[in-house]
């Protein structure tokens, strides 16, 4: 019972934090809400028997990727006037249409999900199992992922280097 209660709390936090993150004018504020959301999702991971994923969610997602955002935001040094403009842009005229679309999308997903039943899981999938899978059948995927990171690295290096060179 506890897990279920925890799950609903975590889910609520995740959703609220995400909504708040999406509607902030200040990027740093938004980012912090986003991190909260990610942490909440990590809790859900933990609750549904994926402790390894939960750990990674915290370490990499909330920890590493979000920090990247922070760096960039700091580097750009967005001022107060930027915030003001962002606030002005969040006008109903702008979000009404998209909100309707999102609502439609969600209701379709809702309809779809409503047909699913049964509990999420019967047991915990441990880090060991994941590790075995990762370096068993998925070993090529790991290799390819490394290439993917390399591509990301090279791309961001190329783009970021020029920025820095120009700044100097």
């Amino acid at each position: 019972m506890l897990e279920i209660t925890l799950f609903y709390i975590a889910a609520t936090i995740a959703l609220v934090a995400t909504v708040l993150a999406m509607t902030r004018a200040n990027a740093i504020h938004a980012l912090i809400y986003l991190i909260v959301s990610l942490l909440a999702v990590a809790v859900i991971f933990f609750l549904i028997g994926a402790p390894f994923a939960a750990a990674l969610e915290i370490v990499i997602y909330a920890g590493a990727i979000m920090v990247l955002f922070v760096f960039v935001i700091m580097m750009l040094n967005l001022g107060e006037e930027g915030d003001a403009r962002e606030r002005g842009l969040l006008h109903p005229k702008i979000w009404a249409g998209p909100a309707l679309l999102s609502l439609m999308l969600f209701s379709e997903l809702l309809y779809m999900i409503s047909t699913v039943d049964g509990p999420v899981s019967s047991g915990v999938v441990t880090a060991k199992e994941v590790g075995l899978a990762l370096f068993g059948p998925y070993v090529l995927a790991v290799e390819i992922a490394s290439m993917l990171l390399l591509a990301g690295l090279v791309g961001s290096y190329h783009l970021g280097r020029r920025y820095l060179e120009r700044e100097e």
Partner: protein, 489 residues
């Protein structure tokens, strides 16, 4: 992973190796000429590898499957990459003192495409697509000047990521429904899952179609296409149009066939709607377009609409003969499309370079008299796109029509005919522009100075363009060997 499996992965290994060598080279001494040669050698080696791997066709782990069909397309996109490579050297980035990274990205992108082609698992599909995509972002945004490449890159990144998430979500739903991530596994369990949770399965498939549809730029996921085509450096556009789209289409086909998605009439119906919309919308959009890169973008929308017809035909396939026909049709059409597109972009890259104003149709006025070779190549390419006989595009269209008739897809057939009829207009517009005689020369009444126009020098792009044109014509006028080959895959 035994030796045989490793050998089967030869093209992938060679490409990875090239990437590593490029990294090492960059850390020792940055020299873009050397990098170019390394890349070229790597691509050639991979080509060799693709040929070598033909004797070792097999599934490699759950992720990849190496088969003749995939190897053929691997070969094809490797060649396309070589074309891109040649074009990149000659015609892009005047400032490019640092092109090593570009070559690295190119290799990585090709690697992603090859993985995509050979993927038999959601993970490899995802990774292949992302690898190809992420490397492409860097390639699109590579030029240091101008706002268009940047705008194109950012649009592509955001929209492509959005599409990837749709795809991923769809995978998740299907996984939830079937409990399997391999295509074949999904196919095997889908029947049972459909009986239990049809909604989940269908919604998942629809989201996957949306995600892949974005990469193929079919309606309504087409809007990014012209902007990215226009903004990206022309060789990259060519790469995007051929390698990226071709690989994604192969992956889609694999998923569609292995996952046995053709069984579901609602999906087929949705796909038909997408196909028809693409055929018509693509052509309508292109009608008055003045920028040739955008025009080609719109035309590609229509072409992938045509190609979807083949997948739809799978649902109607009645006998083995028709199935063989469908297989050949995909192979032929895609090959023809890739070759033709490369020919077109070779010309555009050669003539327009990175200058956006030079890719306006007006800049092609009278090209026949200034640069007959390039003009002829572009003409042949346009005719091939339009499906005029003696070009590869015609045989492709011929295949599509035969498939449509055999499968009795009359509505799609109607859209195909209608779309082709509309398309003639804008392809012809380009040819017309190129054939304009400069007004002065008419007054002169003799060939006078018009003939002084043509360039004297004959660069590698000219050779390349001529080769591609010959290939288009050869595929169109003597298709039997290729048909036999495609039939054997």
């Amino acid at each position: 992973m035994n030796m045989s499996e490793m050998t089967a992965l030869m093209p992938i290994l060679m490409l990875s190796l090239t990437a590593v060598v490029l990294m090492i080279q960059a850390s020792i001494k940055r020299d873009q000429a050397v990098a170019w040669w390394i890349t070229a050698a790597g691509l050639l080696l991979s080509l060799w590898g693709a040929g070598y791997a033909r004797d070792f066709v097999q599934p490699v782990t759950v992720l990849l499957v190496v088969d003749d069909w995939g190897l053929f397309f691997t070969t094809l996109i490797l060649m396309a990459s070589l074309v891109t490579l040649i074009l990149s050297k000659e015609s892009f980035s005047p400032e490019g003192e640092r092109k090593e990274e570009y070559y690295l990205l190119l290799v990585l992108s090709v690697l992603g495409a090859v993985i995509l082609i050979q993927s038999s698992h959601m993970a490899s599909l995802l990774l292949g697509m992302e690898l190809m995509g992420v490397a492409l972002y860097g390639m699109i945004a590579f030029p240091e000047k101008g706002e268009l490449p940047l705008e194109a890159a950012i649009k592509y990144l955001v929209l492509s990521a959005c599409a990837s998430v749709m795809l991923l979500f769809g995978f998740a739903l299907i996984y939830a429904a079937t409990g399997d991530l391999t295509f074949a596994g999904i196919g095997a369990k889908a029947g049972e899952a459909y009986a239990r949770e049809p909604v989940l399965l269908m919604a998942g498939s629809a989201m996957i179609l949306a995600g892949l549809g974005f990469k193929l730029s079919v309606v309504p996921f087409h809007m990014w296409t012209p902007d990215v085509y226009q903004g990206a450096p022309t060789p990259v556009t060519g790469f995007l149009a051929t390698v990226s789209k071709g690989a994604v289409f192969i992956a889609l086909t694999r998923f569609f066939i292995e996952g046995q998605l053709y069984q579901y009439s609602s999906l087929i119906f949705a796909l038909s709607a997408v196909a028809i919309a693409s055929m018509l919308v693509g052509n309508w959009l292109a009608l008055q377009q003045q920028n040739i890169k955008r025009l080609l973008a719109y035309s590609s929308i229509a072409h992938f609409g045509y190609l979807l017809l083949v997948l739809i035909a799978l649902s109607m396939a009645i006998d083995a003969d028709t199935n063989r026909l469908i297989g050949e049709a995909i192979t032929y059409y895609l090959a023809a499309y890739i070759v033709t597109t490369l020919a077109a972009f070779t010309v555009v890259a050669t003539l327009a370079g990175e200058d956006d104003s030079l890719s306006m149709i007006g800049a092609f006025d009278g090209l026949f008299w200034r640069n007959p070779l390039q003009a002829s190549v572009l003409t042949v390419a346009m005719l091939s796109f339009a499906g005029i006989p003696l070009t590869a595009g015609f045989i492709g269209k011929f295949y599509l029509m035969t498939v449509a008739i055999q499968s009795q897809l009359w509505v799609l057939m109607g859209a195909l005919v209608l779309g082709s009829a509309i398309a003639i207009y804008y392809y012809l517009r380009i040819i017309f522009a190129m054939s304009k005689i400069p007004p002065a020369s008419i007054k002169l009444g003799s060939q006078g100075d018009i003939n002084k126009g043509p360039r004297v020098e004959f660069g590698p792009q000219d050779l390349l363009a001529a080769l591609l044109m010959l290939l288009v014509l050869l595929l169109g006028s003597w298709p039997q060997p290729f048909i036999a080959f495609a039939g054997s895959l």
